[in-house]
């Protein structure tokens, strides 16, 4: 599966045309209680989705690579999912919040570079990789790839991708991965491919690291929340936020502000492919089939900050896995 196959199945399905979230959920908080330094723009919950997709995608790859080689991974469907989801979330925030130019620019940069990477991989795998493919990860190099992708995903959940140590992985590939073994051609072809990938990412990561320092301030690593009792708390940002928020909800709290916002917050959940995707107190925004895990699908839903704890408890009760809460 690749650029060459056009399966009719859509990569991303919007819940409706244009704006699907109630307009009253999309109002900027005029007088936040949260200290100004901890306040983040309200539309960032949506704009962080495409960015986080670049975590979900390697995560899917890491899972996929346990059973398969990289050669058959559907890179082009993932590329399409980046741009389609970006379009859909954009329709939700457009006109409701001031345009966050810096964030859009960042999405374009990472979107384009990922598109280039995935397109190149797709072409390469279909023209060269295919010729040596073993189906399952049979060589030390294919297994190296699976391990490296897994580690990479774990890393980028907390830290920017460009800080990942590609260089030591490259050394590792040439020093600690056996040069002998069956599937001679596959081994060397993968070695070539992995060397290229790691070297390019090493150089590109260095450049992006420099650029980011010039353009963006260092990201905060926590999220300020104001609870119903007006108390201020600091929760871990990004990946660990969902678990921390659930814990507060289970203690009976609800949220007044998250990062200074009381408007809609976006979260994604995984449900079985045949799920009806209607959730109480929340609006479904779009659905993405999980191409490497066909029995499940990802649903992006939005709910006002004040209703988040109720929604989290409800999902927990229904046994639905929360993938991510986009804490602005």
């Amino acid at each position: 599966m690749s650029i060459f196959f056009f399966k009719r199945q859509l990569s991303t399905i919007a819940a409706g045309k244009g704006l699907v979230i109630p307009k009253e959920w999309l109002v900027t908080n005029k007088n936040p209680v949260t200290p100004a330094k901890d306040v983040r723009p309200a539309d960032q919950t949506f704009l962080t989705f495409p960015e986080w997709f670049l975590v979900f995608s390697p995560e899917e790859q890491a899972n996929y690579f346990k059973q398969h080689t990289a050669t058959t991974f559907p890179y082009m469907r993932h590329t399409s999912q980046i741009w389609k989801s970006y379009r859909i979330v954009n329709k939700q925030i457009k006109g409701n919040f001031p345009t966050n130019w810096g964030y859009h620019f960042m999405i374009w940069v990472i979107g384009v570079s990922t598109t280039v990477e995935y397109t190149a991989k797709s072409l390469y795998e279909n023209i060269v990789g295919r010729l040596t493919d073993t189906g399952q990860p049979a060589t030390a190099e294919d297994q190296f790839n699976a391990k490296y992708t897994q580690d990479y995903v774990a890393f980028i959940k907390d830290l920017p991708w460009y800080q990942f140590d590609f260089k030591s992985r490259l050394k590792d590939l040439w020093k600690n991965t056996s040069l002998s073994g069956p599937h001679f051609f596959r081994k060397w072809e993968r070695r070539y491919m992995l060397t290229t990938e790691l070297a390019v990412k090493f150089i590109y990561g260095k450049l992006i690291g420099i650029g980011t320092k010039q353009v963006y301030e260092v990201a905060l690593l926590n999220t300020a929340v104001v609870l119903d009792d007006d108390s201020l708390h600091y929760l871990p940002r990004y990946d660990k936020f969902a678990a921390a928020a659930l814990e507060l909800a289970q203690q009976g709290h609800s949220f007044k502000e998250i990062a200074g916002n009381n408007s809609a917050i976006l979260l994604t959940v995984w449900v079985p492919a045949d799920h009806k995707t209607d959730f109480a107190n929340a609006q479904t925004v779009f659905i993405q089939p999980i191409t490497s895990y066909p029995t499940m699908k990802r649903v992006a839903i939005a709910t006002p900050v004040s209703a988040l704890s109720g929604v989290l408890l409800e999902l927990k009760k229904a046994g639905v896995q929360v993938e991510h809460v986009f804490d602005f």
């Binding site: 060459f4 196959f5 010729l131 290229t196 390019v200």
Partner: protein, 577 residues
């Protein structure tokens, strides 16, 4: 026909031979990948994904072949593709090399420059008539208007062979060089046609003396290639370099040079083969009566075997031009061009269909850097632009108007600095139409004493307009007086009018052309002028003798030296009694 001509696309995609430029490479890549894409999807849809594997060998081979050709263009062998094995840097470097790096501008060890012809345009070696059992062949010239059936064609490889042939010949002989003359000057019915082109060696060369001795079958372009590295240039030749030295000598050609004139002025000596088989050396001081019966005399009494010619420095020249009224040209020429030592080439172009305006173009000695990358004229395999312009100019009055008022002014806007060799290195190919079946382009030329310029211009224009002749261009040249050729066309200092026109190939048209040609000849004769002999022999016998009053002396000499009339061609068949 070679594989390349028969299956050009397969040749391009599946052989590693030769060179391709960047554009061809990109187009080929686009073609390869889009074909692959379509086939891949078709096979995948019709059969299974595994079925697509059968097109991979084709894909890789085509990619390899086109990449190898592109590498050749940059003078690198296909082994450089091994760079692909170096991760990152290798592929990037190859992308630059294959997709963006310019090819070498000269022929290299892998072939000629893409889109360039390997050689100057040549006429065929005589056409075979299907099913004919004899050795008879059709000899034709570049216009394709004058087919002559000859008994046999021979291509002597050595002078001895040629000598033997002349001694033992039982039939009349006709001699051909490049066969660019346009009226059967190289053939006679049932003669043995001698193709001189294999006798093309350089026999002696002195850079200090600035002389070269070559066999008569050598072409100007061959000599240019030989002397260019020494910074030398041919002193007198035509604008086109396709012609042989022997053919050029026999017509006593001229170029666009200023201060010079007929080719005879640059000839030191000749070796000529007489009808009795003897080879003798002749020059203006040695057996001069034979010398003057050879240069300009169309193989009347001898075959020219080799020649020693003067050379000049191959300097850079810059183009200058000015447009003026017809009557202003002669004074302009006398004031600015005639005595100007810096003017190397000069010609005036008279614009049809009204013949009122002239563009005077001079190429002047300069220290500026040449505007062309190559020292010698690069040869193109096709001249689509030239062909289009020629077609457009010859179509109607509007085409001629466009030329005079739009295209030429644009073309002359560009600065041009060429080497002398470059500017005398044109390929006749640039004039070749797609087909000469229905219509053909033909040359004529008239000479008048310089003081009669205005008078001839008026007579000529009137004839062209009255006969509605489709003239494409009339080019004015200048020549000093001849030194004594018996068929000298410049008995004194003359202006030459080179007429390039288009005519149909049917008999009615040929007749019409004969009528106005004779009128033009009369016009030139009325001014003590002459017409040029390498073109169609429309002139009457009387006109011939008026234009060439010393022809009788030549005839007398021919009776003496070639009593059986061994050497023949249209001129002797027509005018020699």
């Amino acid at each position: 026909m070679t594989f390349k001509d028969k299956l050009p696309v397969s040749y391009l995609l599946f052989t590693t031979r030769g060179r391709i430029n960047r554009l061809t490479y990109w187009v080929a890549a686009l073609f390869i990948w889009s074909t692959f894409y379509v086939l891949y999807n078709l096979l995948n849809a019709a059969f299974t994904p595994a079925a697509t594997f059968i097109i991979y060998p084709l894909l890789f081979w085509a990619l390899f072949a086109t990449a190898a050709k592109r590498l050749h263009d940059t003078n690198k062998s296909a082994w450089w593709l091994a760079c692909l094995l170096v991760p990152v840097a290798g592929p990037l470097w190859l992308v630059w090399l294959l997709g963006f790096r310019k090819g070498t501008i000269y022929p290299n060890r892998f072939g000629t420059v893409p889109g360039a012809a390997a050689d100057y345009y040549k006429n065929d070696t005589g056409a075979l008539i299907p099913h004919l059992k004899t050795e008879e062949r059709l000899i034709n010239d570049v216009t394709q208007l004058n087919p002559v059936l000859v008994a046999q064609i021979v291509v002597p490889q050595t002078v001895e062979e040629l000598q033997q042939m002349v001694r033992t010949a039982t039939r009349p002989l006709s001699v051909g060089g490049g066969r660019f003359s346009m009226g059967g000057q190289t053939a006679s019915p049932q003669s043995i046609h001698i193709d001189m082109r294999a006798l093309n060696k350089v026999l002696a060369f002195s850079a200090e003396q600035k002389t070269i001795t070559v066999q008569a079958g050598a072409r100007w372009c061959d000599i240019q290639h030989y002397i260019d590295p020494h910074g030398l240039s041919i002193k007198i030749m035509q604008t086109y370099a396709n012609f042989t030295v022997g053919g050029a000598l026999s017509v006593n050609c001229h170029g666009r040079y200023i201060g010079l004139g007929p080719l005879i002025l640059s000839v030191r000596s000749l070796n000529v083969l007489l009808a009795n088989g003897d080879i003798i050396q002749v020059s203006p001081t040695e057996k001069s009566e034979i010398f003057y019966a050879c240069v300009g005399c169309y193989n009347a009494i001898a075959i020219i075997v080799n020649v020693t010619l003067d050379l000049e420095d191959n300097i850079a020249v810059k183009r200058q031009q000015v447009k003026m009224k017809g009557h202003a040209y002669k004074p302009y020429f006398f004031e600015n061009v005639r005595e100007n030592k810096d003017v190397i080439f000069h010609n005036g172009d008279i614009y049809p269909p009204f013949y009122k305006n002239i563009r005077a173009v001079s190429w002047v000695r300069t220290d500026e850097k040449p505007t062309e990358k190559t020292r010698l004229m690069p040869l193109a395999a096709a001249y689509p632009l030239e062909r289009y312009f020629m077609g457009a100019f010859s179509k109607n009055h509007f085409g001629k108007w466009r030329r005079e008022f739009i295209i030429d002014p644009l073309l002359y806007k560009f600065k041009k600095v060429h080497y002398r060799n470059y500017e005398a290195g044109y390929d006749v190919m640039e004039l070749e139409p797609a087909s000469r079946r229905q219509s053909t382009y033909v040359l004529q030329e008239y000479f008048v004493p310089v003081q009669k310029f205005d008078a001839f211009l008026a007579l000529m224009s009137e004839i062209f307009i009255r006969h509605n002749v489709n003239v494409i261009n009339v080019s004015i040249r200048h020549a000093k007086a001849d030194s004594g050729s018996l068929l000298a066309w410049a008995r004194e200092e003359v202006f030459a009018f080179v007429v390039y026109y288009k005519q149909n190939t049917d008999d009615a048209e040929k007749g019409r052309v004969a009528v106005w040609t004779r009128e033009l000849i009369d016009a030139a004769l009325s001014l003590d002028g002459a017409y040029y002999l390498p073109y169609q022999p429309h002139a009457t016998s009387e006109q011939f003798h008026r234009a060439y009053p010393r022809a009788k002396e030549l005839f007398t000499l021919k009776k003496e030296l070639d009593p059986t009339g061994k050497f023949r061609n249209v001129i002797w068949d027509t005018y020699y009694k």
